[in-house]
C-alpha cells in the first residue's frame, strides 16, 4: 500500500516559491492500477516521482507497505528503489547497450545475482514482453512499442512490488498504445503488481485503471473508481477529460437536441445490465416512445457499460422512469 500524508512539493525558481503539489493525502491499495490524470503542469509527474523520491518532498510523509520512504537514508533509498520499477514516456533506454544488456542493467547494478542467473532472468523477461528474438539488437533498431516493451522488461527485472508509469504510452500510436496497455494489464493481473500511472488521456485510464485521481493545478480535484469518475464526472476538469475521450461537446449537443420533442434523459448501464433488453420491455409496458439521440457501448477495464441519450415521448413517462431506476440503471433527466 502506498500512502501519502500531507505530502507537498514546492520548487524554488528565481527566488520565488512555486507550488507543484499542494498538501495531498492519498492511498493506493496493493494490486491496484491507479491512474493519475491531468494536463501538463498539473503536478501529476511530481506526485509520481515523489513515490520513489526522484523528487524530494518539501514536507509530509510517504509510506509504502508500512516503510516510511521519506525517512530512508541514501542506502535505504537505493534498496527501496530496487523494489520499484519505472517506465518512461521516452523509454530512456541506453543506446550503447543491447536490449538484453538494458534489461540486465538493474540486476547488474543490484549485484545480487550471478551472470548466469541474470542471463536466465533476462531471457524470461524478454519472453514475457515478446521480444526474445531481439535480445542482441540495439534500441535504435526497435520501434517505439518495442522500446517500451524493453522498458517494461527492464522495470520488472528486480521483481518489484510497484511499477510507476510516466506517460508510458504518450509517445506511441493508438494501436501500439493498446498493446502496451494490454501488457500492463496482464502484468498487473499475473504478478499482482501495484501500478501507478500518469497520463493525459482518459482513454488510458478507462482501459487499465481501477482507481483514478484527477489533478488540476497541484491538487487532486476528484478521485474514485474509474467507472464512477468516468460515467458521472463531477469536477469541470474531469468533465472536460471525459468529453475529450468521448469526443462530444455538451454545448453543441444541447443545441442539436433543441428541436427534438419530449423529455431527454441519459441512461447509464453497467455490467450485466448493459446487455439486458430493457428499453424494448419498458417501451412496451408503459407505452412510451423513444428515439436514441446519442450513445456508446464500451468497456471500462473489464466491465461493459453503455450510455444512451434518449428523447422520450408519449405514454406513461413517470412509470417508465421508475422502471429504469428500478432496473439498476443510472438515469439523469437532461430536459
Amino acid at each position: 500500500m502506498i500512502e501519502f500524508q500531507n505530502v507537498h512539493k514546492t520548487y524554488r525558481v528565481a527566488g520565488k516559491d512555486i507550488p507543484a503539489l499542494h498538501p495531498t493525502s492519498l492511498r493506493v491499495e496493493n494490486g491496484q492500477v491507479f491512474g493519475l490524470i491531468g494536463h501538463s503542469g498539473a503536478g501529476k509527474s511530481t506526485l509520481l516521482r515523489l513515490i520513489n523520491r526522484l523528487e524530494e518532498p518539501s514536507g509530509g510523509q510517504i509510506t509504502v507497505d508500512g516503510e516510511e520512504v521519506t525517512a530512508l537514508d541514501a542506502n535505504g533509498l537505493r534498496r527501496f528503489r530496487q523494489q520499484v520499477g519505472m517506465i518512461f514516456q521516452h523509454f530512456n533506454l541506453l543506446a550503447s547497450k543491447t536490449v538484453a544488456d538494458n534489461v540486465a542493467l538493474p540486476l547488474t547494478l543490484a549485484g545480487e545475482l550471478s551472470r548466469k542467473d541474470i542471463n536466465l532472468r533476462v531471457a524470461e523477461l524478454l519472453a514475457r514482453v515478446g521480444l526474445s528474438d531481439h535480445a542482441k539488437k540495439y534500441p535504435a533498431q526497435l520501434s517505439g512499442g518495442q522500446k517500451q516493451r524493453v522498458g517494461i522488461a527492464r522495470a520488472l527485472a528486480t521483481k518489484p512490488k510497484i511499477l510507476l508509469c510516466d506517460e508510458a504510452t504518450s509517445a506511441l500510436d493508438p494501436q501500439t498504445t493498446a498493446s502496451v496497455l494490454q501488457l500492463l494489464a496482464e502484468i498487473n493481473r499475473e504478478l499482482k503488481l501495484t501500478i501507478v500511472l500518469i497520463t493525459h488521456e482518459m482513454d488510458v485510464i478507462r482501459r487499465v485503471c481501477d482507481q483514478v485521481a484527477v489533478m488540476d493545478a497541484g491538487v487532486i480535484v476528484e478521485q474514485g473508481s474509474v467507472a464512477d469518475v468516468f460515467l458521472h464526472p463531477q469536477h469541470p476538469t474531469t468533465k472536460r477529460f471525459v468529453q475529450e475521450a468521448e469526443q462530444v461537446d455538451e454545448g453543441e449537443q444541447r443545441d442539436d437536441f433543441a428541436h427534438v420533442p419530449g423529455r431527454i434523459v441519459r441512461l447509464t448501464f453497467q455490467g450485466d445490465a448493459t446487455y439486458a433488453p430493457l428499453l424494448g420491455t419498458v417501451a412496451r409496458e408503459t407505452g412510451v416512445d423513444y428515439s436514441i439521440l446519442a450513445g456508446r457501448i464500451d468497456r471500462i477495464k473489464d466491465i461493459p457499460y453503455g450510455q444512451l441519450t434518449l428523447a422520450v415521448t408519449g405514454g406513461d413517462m413517470e412509470a417508465a422512469f421508475a422502471r429504469f431506476t428500478a432496473a439498476d440503471v443510472h438515469m439523469e433527466v437532461l430536459r
Partner: protein, 230 residues
C-alpha cells in the same frame, strides 16, 4: 620529373623517420596522460555544474576558472612558462634553458591539452539525455554506478570524438614544441626548413604532418561510428 626528384635528392630520410618517430612518441605519450587526467576532470566538471548530480557552485567555478586560464594561454607561451616545472617533473638536466627533448615536451603538452579535453568531455556528458540518468537513479544506482554504467557508456561516441580532436590539436602542439628544441617534425621544419632554407625538408615535414592528421581523423571517425549504435 627529374626536377621533382632532384628537389628531394639531398633529404636525409633517416632524419625524417627519426623525427616522425619522435612526433609519434610525443603525441601518444601526451595523449595518454591527457586522457588519464582529462577524463576525470571532465566528469568532475560535469557533475559539479549547475543542476547536475553533485551540484557544487564553488568547486565548479574554481575548476572552470583554472581550465579557462590554462586555455587562454597560447601554447607557445605555456611551453616557455613551464620550463622550470618541466625540469622538476622530468628531472632533465638542461644546460641551455631552451632545450627540452622529447620527454621534456610531454608535461607542457599534457598541461596544454588536458583543460581542452576536459571541456570536450564535459560537453559530451551534457549530451547524454537526462532521462537516462533518471532511469538509472530509479533502479537504485549509486552515483558512481550512474557514471560508470550509464553516463560514460552513453557518452562514449562523444568521448572518442573528443580524443580525436585533442590528438589533432596535440599534433600541432608537438610541432610548436620544436621551437624550444623538443625534437620531432616541427623541430625539423624549423631547424632545416626555416633556418637553413631547405624548402624540400619543409615540404616533406608538412606532408608528413598532414598524413598523420588524416590518419588520426579517419581512425577517430571509425571509432565514433562503431560506438554510436544509431
Amino acid at each position: 620529373m627529374d626536377l621533382f626528384l632532384n628537389f628531394f635528392a639531398d633529404i636525409d630520410w633517416s632524419e625524417i623517420w627519426l623525427a616522425t618517430g619522435d612526433t609519434m612518441t610525443m603525441l601518444f605519450g601526451s595523449l595518454f596522460f591527457t586522457v588519464v587526467l582529462g577524463l576525470p576532470l571532465g566528469v568532475l566538471l560535469f557533475l559539479t555544474s549547475p543542476r547536475q548530480l553533485f551540484e557544487q557552485k564553488g568547486l565548479y567555478a574554481f575548476l572552470s576558472l583554472v581550465v579557462n586560464m590554462l586555455r587562454s594561454l597560447p601554447f607557445i607561451i605555456l611551453l616557455i612558462v613551464m620550463l622550470p616545472l618541466t625540469k622538476l617533473i622530468t628531472g632533465i638536466y638542461m644546460d641551455e634553458a631552451t632545450t627540452l627533448g622529447v620527454a621534456g615536451a610531454i608535461p607542457p603538452l599534457v598541461i596544454g591539452a588536458t583543460p581542452f579535453f576536459a571541456r570536450l568531455v564535459e560537453t559530451a556528458l551534457r549530451e547524454v539525455d537526462r532521462g537516462i540518468i533518471e532511469a538509472t537513479q530509479s533502479m537504485g544506482a549509486s552515483t558512481r554506478q550512474i557514471i560508470t554504467s550509464a553516463l560514460l557508456p552513453e557518452a562514449r561516441p562523444g568521448i572518442f570524438a573528443a580524443i580525436t580532436v585533442t590528438a589533432i590539436t596535440l599534433v600541432s602542439y608537438t610541432a610548436m614544441a620544436g621551437v624550444v628544441g623538443a625534437g620531432g617534425l616541427g623541430d625539423l621544419a624549423i631547424r632545416f626548413g626555416y633556418q637553413r632554407f631547405q624548402d624540400n625538408v619543409m615540404v616533406v615535414t608538412v606532408v608528413m604532418l598532414m598524413i598523420l592528421v588524416q590518419i588520426l581523423q579517419t581512425v577517430g571517425d571509425k571509432l565514433v561510428v562503431h560506438f554510436s549504435r544509431k
